[in-house]
Amino acid sequence: MNVNDDTARSHLDRSNLDRSNLDLETPEKPYLDANELIINMGPQHPATHGVLRVILKLDGEKVLGTECVIGYLHRGVEKIAENRTYTMFNPYVDRMDYVAAVSNGLGYCEAVEKLMNVEAPARAKYIRVILTELNRVASHQLWLGTHALDIGAMTPLFYTFRDREEILKIFERYCGARLTTHAFRIGGCQYETYAGFEKDVKNFLTFVAPKIDEYEELLTTNRIWLERTRNVGVVSGADCVALGVTGPVLRASGVQWDLRKAQPYAAYSDFDFEIPIGENGDTYDRYLVRMQEMRQSLRIVEQAVNAIPEGPIMAKVPKVIKPPVGEIYHSIEAPKGELGYFIVSDGSTQPYRLRVRPPSFVNLQALDIMVRGALVADVIAVIGTLDIVLGEVDR
């Protein structure tokens, strides 16, 4: 499907996006049967992945409509940026999507580099790709564990955490941090790879490939898993495009759109990988797409680690970063979708305005059309499948 298709844009007007019949102010009818039972799911709820609050309007178990209330984790990241130098702001972006901190850092560094017209050296780019793709695997593993837990399968959570640990160990040895890595600097990477980095990564590749099969063994053909995920939270490609949904959710709906292919950044043009896409746009397809993505990421890492060039890891960047006056929008394919940074520079050391396009926030919009008419249990499944991180939604 062509993304720039006008019919896709006009889809916004279609009635299934109509929110007018969601009137949460309706007084509670006196009985439960034809009632509109209003339930507050969250902000303290085990399955809303943090502090998302979803107000559900229910008819018995059927969902009539949802209203997301966000902002419980709002830290004003974008405002903070205006009072920090470009270098000082770099660690802050790690705290948005804290399960994919490396991707956040990559997007920010590349955006500033683009603004300054600097290019990172080849070796830095390769290191960036390796770490980012490892982080994608880690993010997807975390998603898989929590998603399966939401649907009631406890065990995959522990399997994925066991394997994610190996990735975090590599991060820790590389840059000293496990979660909020702050791995990259504007203009390249600060750290050279440690001795044995390649070996660690290669060991990890051989270690994790059978583990992904193991997850699939537990879930992919499990009848209950199939029943819980097939035809649940279906969203069409056109709806996705109209809502701006990106990432695996978009690809599972059959739209082949991946920024790594569409507008290659870092060193992605050097590698051979595929973009897995789904057909039905249901929860099961999104599961399959993410599982395939993990494998593709491993492929990229394998290629990158075998062909990692020698050379400097830092481009010539002035000590005080003062980009020229102008504005820039740069986006990368984060594990959850398109992560974009829009930076307006007034020529000073601090950004005049910095705006983040977080994939989780945009993807969360699809929740309503995905769960309307479904059951309460599906809401949980859909929140899980959207793979949101509240730190990124609220910023």
């Binding site: 006196p30 009985y31 049967d33 034809a34």
Partner: protein, 102 residues
Amino acid sequence: MVPITTLHYLVVAAALFVLGVIGVLTRRNVVIVLMSIELILNAVNLNLVAFSRMWGNLNGQVFAIFIVVDAAAEAAVGLGILIAFFRNKETINVDEIDLLKW
């Protein structure tokens, strides 16, 4: 202590029956009226089973089982009517159900 005879059971059954009748006659809440009907049916059952023991044959017990079946049917239909009624009138008071149609 006086040995327990059929009469003892009959008195208990009569008491339960009368309680049920009072419930049906005086309560406004339909759910409780239906429950009172269950009380009445139970009183009848107790009588039947007591007589069954008195005469030494099982006809009374078989009747009691039929009455249990009837009670189940009655409860299902009664509560069905109640829900249908509640959906339309939003009340479960028996003295507001005096119209045969609305």
